[in-house]
C-alpha cells in the first residue's frame, strides 16, 4: 500500500495538532453526532438487524476463507459477460495497468467515481505523471481535489470542511479545472451543489473513459455494484465508452442473493438511509447500453498479507460503511487526517497497519489510536471485532513475531520506541514472580513517597505529560492485610 501520506507524523503528534483546531473539532462534532443519531433510527426500523448482521459476517467470512475459488469464479463470470480481468499485486502495478488502458483509448482525461481503492493506490497522482488528468466527480471528493486537500472520512471525505470553507474553495479553484463557479456564489448547500452540477456536467457529457471502484462483486454472475447518492456514479458508469474498475480482492460475495443482506445493511449503516438514492449494477458489457469496453482490475496491495493473519483477517470483511468512524470518540476529536491513511478511524487503525505493515512510525502508532471502548464493534454491520484486532496488533508492535509481508513469511522485530514499555513489562513479570522482592520494593516505595516526582523522567515523560501520576498509599496492601488480618483488627 503506497498510501502513506508523505512526511506524516505518528498518530499522537498529528492528533495533538487536530485537537487544537477548534473549527475542525466543531465541524467533526456536528457531523458525527448528526449521523450517529440518524443511523440508530434507521437500524431500529429493522427488527432482524442482528440476523442480517450475522448473515453479513458469515457471508464475508466464508468468502475470505475460500477466496481463491471465488476469485477464479468471478474472473470466469466477468470474462463470459464481455469484460476483461486484470490482476495487480500492488499499487504500482494497478496504476500501470490503468494508465496503459487509458492510453490505449487515446484519451488524456478520465472521470472518476469516488473509490477508496483508487485513493489507496494514489491513482490520480500516477495518472498525472503519465499526462492523464483524473476528475473526481463526487461532491466531497471534488471539494478535496479542488482544495488540494486530503480526504478525512471514508464516506464524506470533506467532513472536516464547513460550508464557508467550501464556498471559498469553489470560488477560487473551479476556474483552473473547467467551468468557474457562478458569480455571487453563496454558502448554502443547495447553491454549492448547483455549482458542482454545472462544473461537472460538461465533463460528464464529453467523457470517453470512466474509472470506478465497486462496493460488491458477485462471483456467481460477474455483476459489479456501485452504491451512491448524487448520480455522478451513474454518469461515469454509463456515458463513457470505456469503463475501468479497480476493486480490492476482498469485495467479492459468492451469489446474487447475498446482495439482499448488504443492500439492507450498508445504506442504513453509512448514510442512515433506508436506501441510498442510486445503486448501479452491471454485468460485463451490454449491447447499446453503457460502455463498450469494461476492464476489472483486481487489487491485492497487502490484502493477502492481512488474510494470512488469522486474527487480523476479519478486517477484510469491511464494507466501508464508516459507521465506526462516526461513533469513535478518538476519531471525533482527532479527525481523519491524523490517521495518515485513506482509511481513518477505527477500521483504518486496524486496516492500514495490516495492508502496509507496522514498519513506519505512523503505522506502529495506529493500533494505539483507540480507547478500546468497543463502540466500533457494536455498530459494525459485519461484526468486525475491532478492539480484538487492535490489541492483537499492539502485541505485534511491542513483541514482534511472525507475519506475512508481500506474500513472504517474515519475523518482525519489536518496533522502536516501545523499549521502555517492554522493559517495564519484563520487570513487572520478574517482580510478580518473586514475592519477597515485590514486598520489599513496595515498602521502599511507600516510605519514600514524599520524594516522588510529579512527572516521570526519561521515556515516561510523554505518558505523564497528560496524566496525573497515581499517589502511592502510605502502606502496601499486603502489609496492611498482615497487620490487620484483612481489616478485622483495625478501625
Amino acid at each position: 500500500m503506497s498510501g502513506t501520506f508523505v512526511g506524516m507524523p505518528a498518530f499522537p503528534e498529528a492528533a495533538r495538532a487536530a485537537v487544537d483546531d477548534a473549527t475542525l473539532r466543531g465541524n467533526l462534532r456536528h457531523a458525527t453526532h448528526t449521523i450517529r443519531a440518524k443511523r440508530a433510527g434507521a437500524v431500529a426500523e429493522l427488527a432482524d438487524w442482528a440476523e442480517l448482521r450475522e448473515a453479513g459476517r458469515r457471508i464475508k467470512d466464508h468468502t475470505l476463507r475460500h477466496l481463491d475459488r471465488y476469485l477464479e469464479q468471478l474472473e470466469a463470470s466477468v470474462t463470459a459477460a464481455g469484460g476483461t480481468v486484470h490482476w495487480a499485486a500492488d499499487a504500482d502495478e494497478a496504476n500501470r495497468i490503468v494508465a496503459r488502458l487509458v492510453e490505449e483509448t487515446g484519451e488524456s482525461e478520465v472521470v472518476k467515481v469516488k473509490s477508496m481503492a483508487t485513493q489507496e493506490i494514489g491513482l490520480n497522482e500516477a495518472l498525472e505523471a503519465e499526462g492523464i488528468r483524473a476528475y473526481e466527480t463526487d461532491l466531497a471528493e471534488l471539494i478535496v481535489q479542488l482544495g488540494k486537500d486530503r480526504p478525512s472520512h471514508i464516506l464524506v471525505p470533506a467532513i472536516h470542511r464547513n460550508r464557508g470553507e467550501i464556498r471559498e474553495i469553489f470560488a477560487h479553484e473551479m476556474a483552473a479545472w473547467g467551468r468557474p463557479a457562478p458569480e455571487n456564489l453563496t454558502d448554502t448547500p443547495a447553491d454549492l451543489a448547483e455549482a458542482a452540477r454545472l462544473h461537472l456536467r460538461e465533463k460528464f457529457l464529453r467523457a470517453r473513459v470512466g474509472v470506478s471502484g465497486a462496493n460488491f462483486m458477485v462471483a456467481e454472475t460477474g455483476t459489479l455494484v456501485v452504491v451512491e447518492s448524487e448520480g455522478n456514479g451513474r454518469m461515469c458508469l454509463t456515458l463513457p465508452e470505456t469503463l475501468i474498475s479497480v476493486v480490492g480482492i476482498e469485495k467479492i460475495v459468492p451469489t446474487w442473493r447475498d446482495l439482499e443482506v448488504f443492500l439492507q445493511t450498508l445504506p442504513r449503516s453509512s448514510t442512515a438511509e433506508r436506501m441510498n438514492p442510486y445503486t448501479s449494477m452491471w454485468t460485463g458489457t451490454t449491447d447499446e447500453d453503457g460502455p463498450r469496453a469494461f476492464h476489472l482490475v483486481l487489487l491485492d496491495n497487502g490484502r493477502t498479507d492481512a488474510l494470512a493473519d488469522q486474527v487480523g483477517r476479519q478486517a477484510l470483511r469491511c464494507i466501508r460503511c464508516s459507521a465506526c468512524l462516526n461513533v469513535c470518540p478518538v476519531y471525533e476529536r482527532a479527525g481523519g487526517h491524523a490517521y495518515g491513511s485513506v482509511y481513518p478511524g477505527p477500521i483504518g487503525a486496524i486496516l492500514s497497519p495490516q495492508l502496509r505493515g507496522t514498519g513506519s512510525e505512523i503505522d506502529a502508532s495506529l493500533p494505539y489510536a483507540s480507547s478500546l471502548c468497543g463502540a466500533c464493534y457494536e455498530v459494525c454491520p459485519v461484526a468486525i471485532d475491532i478492539p480484538e484486532v487492535l490489541v492483537h496488533l499492539r502485541e505485534r508492535v511491542v513483541e514482534g513475531g511472525p507475519a506475512v509481508r508481500g506474500g513472504n513469511k517474515v519475523v518482525l522485530r519489536p518496533a522502536k520506541g516501545h523499549a521502555a514499555e517492554r522493559a517495564a513489562m519484563r520487570a513487572a513479570a520478574w517482580a510478580f514472580g518473586h514475592p519477597g522482592a515485590l514486598g520489599t520494593g513496595q515498602r521502599l516505595a511507600s516510605r519514600s513517597r514524599r520524594l516522588h516526582p510529579r512527572t516521570l523522567p526519561g521515556p515516561g515523560r510523554a505518558w505523564s505529560h497528560t496524566r496525573d501520576l497515581p499517589t502511592l498509599p502510605a502502606e502496601p496492601f499486603r502489609d496492611w492485610w498482615q497487620r490487620t488480618r484483612g481489616g478485622k483488627d483495625a478501625k
Binding site: 456536528h30 426500523e45 429493522l46 427488527a47 432482524d48 440476523e51 442480517l52 448473515a55 458469515r58 466464508h62 476463507r65 475460500h66 477466496l67 481463491d68 476469485l71 477464479e72 490482476w87 495487480a88 499485486a89 466527480t137 464524506v156 470533506a158 460550508r163 448547500p189 443547495a190 454549492l192 451543489a193 458542482a196 456536467r201 457529457l205 464529453r206 454472475t221 447518492s229 448524487e230 455522478n232 454518469m235 456515458l239 446474487w256 442473493r257 439482499e260 443492500l263 438511509e273 433506508r274 436506501m275 438514492p277 442510486y278 445503486t279 448501479s280 449494477m281 454485468t283 447499446e288 447500453d289 453503457g290 483486481l298 493477502t304 498479507d305 488474510l307 494470512a308 506475512v404 506474500g407
Partner: protein
C-alpha cells in the same frame, strides 16, 4: 510468474489454516433474517411505497388507465417541456394526449443533445415498498440507462400492485443480473456539505412517480 498466479498463490498460502472439508456455502450462511418486515396487504404495500417515495422527496401521483395520458400531459406542461425523451417500448397510449415532441433515444444522439431535453417518461421493472425504491432494468419501456439520467425531470410509471414488492430480498428474486440495473430512491441527493441533505446534484432533480392502477 504473472500477477494472477502470484496473488492466487498468496491467497492459498494465507489460507493454509482453513480445513479442506470446511462447511460449504449453503451451510455456512444462516438465512434467518426476514423476507419482509411486517405483514401488509397488497394495498398497504402500495401505500407504504407511496409514503417512502414521498419521504425521499419524490412526487407521487395515482392514476388509472383512463387518467394516465392526461396526467402525463399535465405534468409535462407544468414543466414547460417542449421535448420529452421516450424509450422505444413505452406503451403508445400513455402519451396519446402529450403535446411535447417525443425524442426517441438513438445511438447517434450525443449526451450533449440529450442534455437539451428536459423530461423523460419511463416504466420500471420493480418497486420496493419498504425502501421506496424503483428499479429500472433496461427493458423496452425503460430504455437505456442514460435516458433516465441526463434529463432533469423523470416521470416513472409503476403498475400497481403487480410491480410492487415489499422488500429488498423480494426485489432481487425478480431481477435478472445479466441486465444493467439502476435502483432509484428519490431524486439525486447529496449529504456532503455538513451532512445536510440537498436534493439534486447530477441525476434528475425532480422525480415524479405515477402509481398506475391495474
Amino acid at each position: 510468474m504473472n500477477s494472477r498466479e502470484r496473488i492466487l498463490g498468496r491467497v492459498r498460502r494465507a489460507l493454509a489454516d482453513v480445513p479442506a472439508g470446511e462447511r460449504p456455502y449453503e451451510e455456512a450462511v444462516p438465512r434467518d433474517y426476514l423476507r419482509e418486515h411486517g405483514e401488509r396487504t397488497v394495498e398497504e404495500s402500495v401505500d407504504l411505497l407511496a409514503e417512502n417515495l414521498a419521504d425521499y422527496r419524490a412526487i407521487v401521483h395515482r392514476a388509472d388507465a383512463a387518467d394516465l395520458p392526461l396526467l402525463i400531459t399535465r405534468l409535462l406542461a407544468a414543466r414547460g417541456a417542449e421535448e420529452v425523451l421516450v424509450p422505444p417500448g413505452l406503451p403508445d397510449w400513455w402519451m396519446t394526449a402529450a403535446d411535447p415532441v417525443r425524442i426517441h433515444d438513438r445511438a447517434e444522439l450525443t449526451p450533449q443533445r440529450l442534455d437539451r431535453v428536459g423530461s423523460v417518461v419511463t416504466g420500471c421493472a420493480v418497486a420496493i415498498a419498504e425502501t421506496g425504491t424503483l428499479v429500472l432494468d433496461g427493458s423496452p419501456d425503460q430504455g437505456r440507462r442514460r435516458i433516465s439520467l441526463i434529463p432533469d425531470h423523470h416521470i416513472c410509471v409503476v403498475r400497481v400492485p403487480s410491480q410492487v414488492v415489499a422488500s429488498v430480498p423480494q426485489a432481487l428474486e425478480r431481477l435478472a443480473p445479466t441486465r444493467p440495473l439502476t435502483w432509484i430512491s428519490g431524486p439525486s441527493a447529496t449529504s456532503d456539505i455538513e451532512l445536510d441533505r440537498v436534493e439534486g446534484v447530477h441525476g434528475p432533480r425532480t422525480l415524479e412517480v405515477i402509481l398506475l392502477d391495474g
